[in-house]
Symmetry: C2
Subunit: 367 residues, 2 copies
């Protein structure tokens, strides 16, 4: 079991990672003095699989529990859904000391965190992420949000959980495509900060993809430690440190948007974005060819795409220009000098960007 | 002109108060580096009266302006309205550096603050309060909120403005009932913290009610200074200091709720709540009879009610028990030892509470 501290001045919190860590839930909650009445936001599949055991744990320790179920869909990450959950909460919350448990993946986590941030001007919540992507990324760092039709994550707040409890046993039943999607973010951490983690995945990707819990525990802990450190240094993305986490995401997001969020899931789009960023790093003579090859190889081995077809380069460029992180006229990318070493570069010539985009966006006839 | 600093660790801000202070808006905005594109949330009446002059000031200084108008109604303080405004914002906000200006009373201020807190995980906003109640109370302190059918202020955040710009000239055209409503909060500040302010109102209530700007400037500045100090000491109402601001509000809110928010406006209900709290203070031998009489006299002189008829005592008690600030089983009231000296008391016998309620809630035949 690993215990990682997110070192925030005002509300520091812990990330607990391991196999069967869920059994510590009641004891951890008691230590937090977070409340007596657990409102568990989850989806039907997760409730069916884990609901009764979580309920039993809580009740045996004297907590009450109330499940609020939302559809297993990106659409649940919406203001309309948040509104419905809040009205449920309000109806339930009479003379209670409620707190929120986000039991699920990124959609549940982002939605629950947003609700916790605005309900009664903020109630305590904890994250119990059940996907690899949520365990290594979205459950940590306090970015909560819901989408609007106009753009993803347009409404939200920085609002930290009081605890992140990651049980890698949850990942054993995860569909392989979701393991791969989470693995893309893990590769990202290796590329920006941790060459040992990168090598670990090179050696163990088969174990990881078959959900070997020891391997999963290692990569979740290594990833969480990096994210925790970066978030501690730059909580609200004001100092350019947290920006490093966007490696592969600038173009990744644009690819997701250009594909209407249907073609590629987050990890797959990020994989393409990382190939782009690595290629651009090479063109700018930051990264050597051998490292570039290792990166492309590992992404392939992880079952993630390194090129896409039938996605218009112009659409991706347009989506990129609409990105809320795009500052004024100068573009800005996170690139790498070497595996494990990231840096931010601004004002890269459009010609080079297009060349690196051509590397990942193939015309249909080439495939 | 008065310049009061709200001394928060992370985001300190200033409250500027005076006559015709609106002319400083562009210079103050530039000093804040808050953005270039002003999104002004307001209502039709205020836009009609002040829109073009505010617009002229902003444009002359190189800012762009976009007005987003909501209905002049409590109903605008809703999640549905917030949602509509946010979609307006999102449609407008392309390659811009927007910030929000809340130009209006409490509804506009609370709504705008909430929107600023959640749009893109927080954008800068300033308060330009146009009512006495907003200038002395709701614009200061960072409590933003919208209502749900289930309860008022159920959704919100602590999110501070970057500036509060109070121009007392705005108050010259305010309906007298609204001046009185704001004056109730000013009397509250006098009662909990500032006997000189209380005496000032005793001497000048006629000037205040006829919107004499020098008198208004004095009471707005004195009130804002007290609120700023209290908020600086206890930003998130965690230390029992900010609680003092609830003097008269516990029962005041219950009276508002029991009357379906139609019979009494906020200030009138607070006036009744203050008479209740002063009476209870007297019953508990904290306050002497002479001070009690002065309080009732001043509330009357200010054109505010000191008793109500046809409001059921039981309804008020029930609404009180539902109050989100009601902690568990022990009740809790802000009382006064003397004019200008507040203290918190818990566990007051229900019998005494009922007696003090009978003092303000008269049966119909007595009137």
């Amino acid at each position: 079991m690993k215990d990682i501290r997110v070192n925030l001045k005002k509300y520091p919190y812990h990330i607990i990672i391991g196999r069967n860590t869920i059994k510590f839930l009641p004891a951890l909650l008691k230590k937090l003095s977070i409340g007596k009445d657990a409102c568990i936001i989850t989806n039907p599949a997760i409730k069916k699989r884990y609901g009764s055991s979580v309920s039993r744990l809580l009740r045996a320790a004297g907590f009450s529990d109330k499940f609020i179920v939302v559809a297993d869909s990106e659409k649940s990450k919406s203001l309309a859904c948040a509104w419905r959950v809040i009205r449920n909460l309000a109806a339930y919350d009479k003379n209670k000391r409620i707190f929120i448990v986000a039991l699920g993946g990124g959609v549940i986590g982002d939605l629950s965190g947003f609700i916790a941030s605005v309900y009664k001007r903020g109630v305590g919540y904890i994250q119990v992420p059940t996907t690899l992507l949520a365990q290594v990324d979205s459950s940590i760092g306090g970015k909560t949000a819901v989408d609007l039709k106009e753009a993803k994550n347009l409404i939200g707040a920085f609002y930290h959980p009081r605890l992140v409890l990651s049980d890698v046993n949850f990942l054993k039943t995860l569909p392989k495509r979701q393991i791969k999607s989470g693995l893309a973010e893990v590769i990202k951490y290796g590329l920006i900060k941790d060459k040992r983690l990168f090598s670990f995945i090179e050696n163990r990707y088969r174990d990881i993809l078959s959900a070997d819990t020891a391997s999963l525990e290692y990569i979740v802990a290594a990833s969480a430690a990096i994210k925790a450190k970066i978030v501690s240094l730059d909580e609200k993305e004001e100092k350019g440190i947290r920006t490093l986490l966007n490696f592969g995401h600038t173009i990744g997001h644009a690819i997701e948007a250009a594909g209407g969020y249907l073609r590629y899931n987050h990890g797959e789009a990020i994989a393409l974005g990382m190939v782009f960023a690595a290629d651009l790093s090479q063109r700018l003579r930051l990264l050597n060819q051998q490292a570039f090859k290792r990166i492309v190889e590992l992404i392939k081995d992880s079952g993630l795409p390194v090129s896409a077809r039938n996605i218009s380069l112009q659409k991706v460029l347009n989506a990129h220009y609409r990105d809320k992180k795009f500052r004024g006229k100068r573009n800005r990318f996170v690139l790498i000098n070497a595996i494990g070493e990231a840096k931010i570069k601004e004002g890269i010539p459009l010609k080079l960007i297009k060349k690196s985009l051509q590397k990942i966006l193939l015309p249909a006839y080439l495939l």
